[in-house]
Symmetry: C2
Subunit: 266 residues, 2 copies
Amino acid sequence: MNRSPIGIFDSGIGGLTVARAIFEQLPGESTIYFGDTARVPYGPKSAETVRRYSLEILRWLLDQRVKAVVIACNTSTAHALETLQAESPVPVIGVIEPGAAAAAAVGGERPIGVIGTAGTIASGAYAKAIRRTVPDARVEQRACPLFVPLVEEGWFEHPAADLIAREYLGPLAAAGVGALVLGCTHYPLLKPLLQRVMGPGVRLIDSGEETARVVASALRERSLQAPEGAPATHRFAVSDDEARFRQVGVRFIGDRLARAEVVPLA
Amino acid sequence: MNRSPIGIFDSGIGGLTVARAIFEQLPGESTIYFGDTARVPYGPKSAETVRRYSLEILRWLLDQRVKAVVIACNTSTAHALETLQAESPVPVIGVIEPGAAAAAAVGGERPIGVIGTAGTIASGAYAKAIRRTVPDARVEQRACPLFVPLVEEGWFEHPAADLIAREYLGPLAAAGVGALVLGCTHYPLLKPLLQRVMGPGVRLIDSGEETARVVASALRERSLQAPEGAPATHRFAVSDDEARFRQVGVRFIGDRLARAEVVPLA
């Protein structure tokens, strides 16, 4: 038993979908969320820069005495997961492996679709993770850079969102994918639209939900769970622009979003 | 006469439209462009952070012995122009005042439209600059966060771009604006679309072109022009991810874009 919080971090706001999945699946666990809003987005940054930023955040979270760290950011997971696992005395869980494993488990002969930011897709991280489970898996990838600003605008059902989704997903639907990994933490807010565009026969994999499941079992295995019925607290911290974080963040987790501390790391 | 280069900087890639206008209007002038691709975008960052980053870039440009500095970034101009002018021994020209002056000069009774990123619009910098010339000007503003990723995707004429432009510009067209300031350096690439949506009676103000005109007269006034017929050279530097800078930058200035040096500032 351990009442310490779980640390969750992202380059910005998107990781709140992962936090939400953790709130829902692990209601007794306290959390500290760090959004690196001063340096968002990580996607266009080099692997080395992303590793450096991620290590700074890891150290800050460890100073807050977290019992586990969730990298709720696809770019940081792709570039920094192994470095952080090597440096951290507490378990570090990334957002890619759980989503990839869930996609690989869908099985069948159909290819697996993966969508994400340009950086995540270019890294090939999901395809590699899927092929660690299913070596001959056919993976169809597509970068969808317009989805993040669509989500931040709140245009989940705008006709333009529909056209953009059809442009991006058309080739994946035509390839007959059986599962579609939402490889960016913003995308779960587009789920109804994406499901409609892909059709009911395609399983959407929400990396955040899959990651929350892995966090739950990691805590269980190490007997790190909070005591049953413990009151959970949720802290938020950002490296810049708290006002915008709250304004957009409310779309992600509603009124569970409290005022965030501003912790400038750079 | 002075053969030293003009320094031009932006948070990333968009300032290349300003560089392009300078290439075209001042073909004899050499330039050094700095894109802070490691820390793009500046829009969501605090004024203080943007000032700090802008000062770092100013110092680097001065180390390269530039004879003038163009802030080809709306956010940096809004937050850092005065600071940089106070610190710099060479003239510093921002991108807002020239666009605002051109819009104010359109005249007539119709309101002036201004579009830009969320940060630029929230700063009210264009409205303030327009009202310095025309104190009772009616200014209709609108943040258009999806335009930057549309430009970076190259979807200048995609049906989704059309729908998005109609959503953003509809209220400005309905308000009967006579001029529309493109208050973001990415937007000139959407000019044909924006002109079509606004109709032929609305004058689009390209802040980059207006800024190049102001640079030309600033050099002339101070006798800082390059000698006539001098061979101009164009250097490019970025703080991260040179490959992506070139890949997207080609849409902005074509094959004038040379390989960029990587200068990590942070």
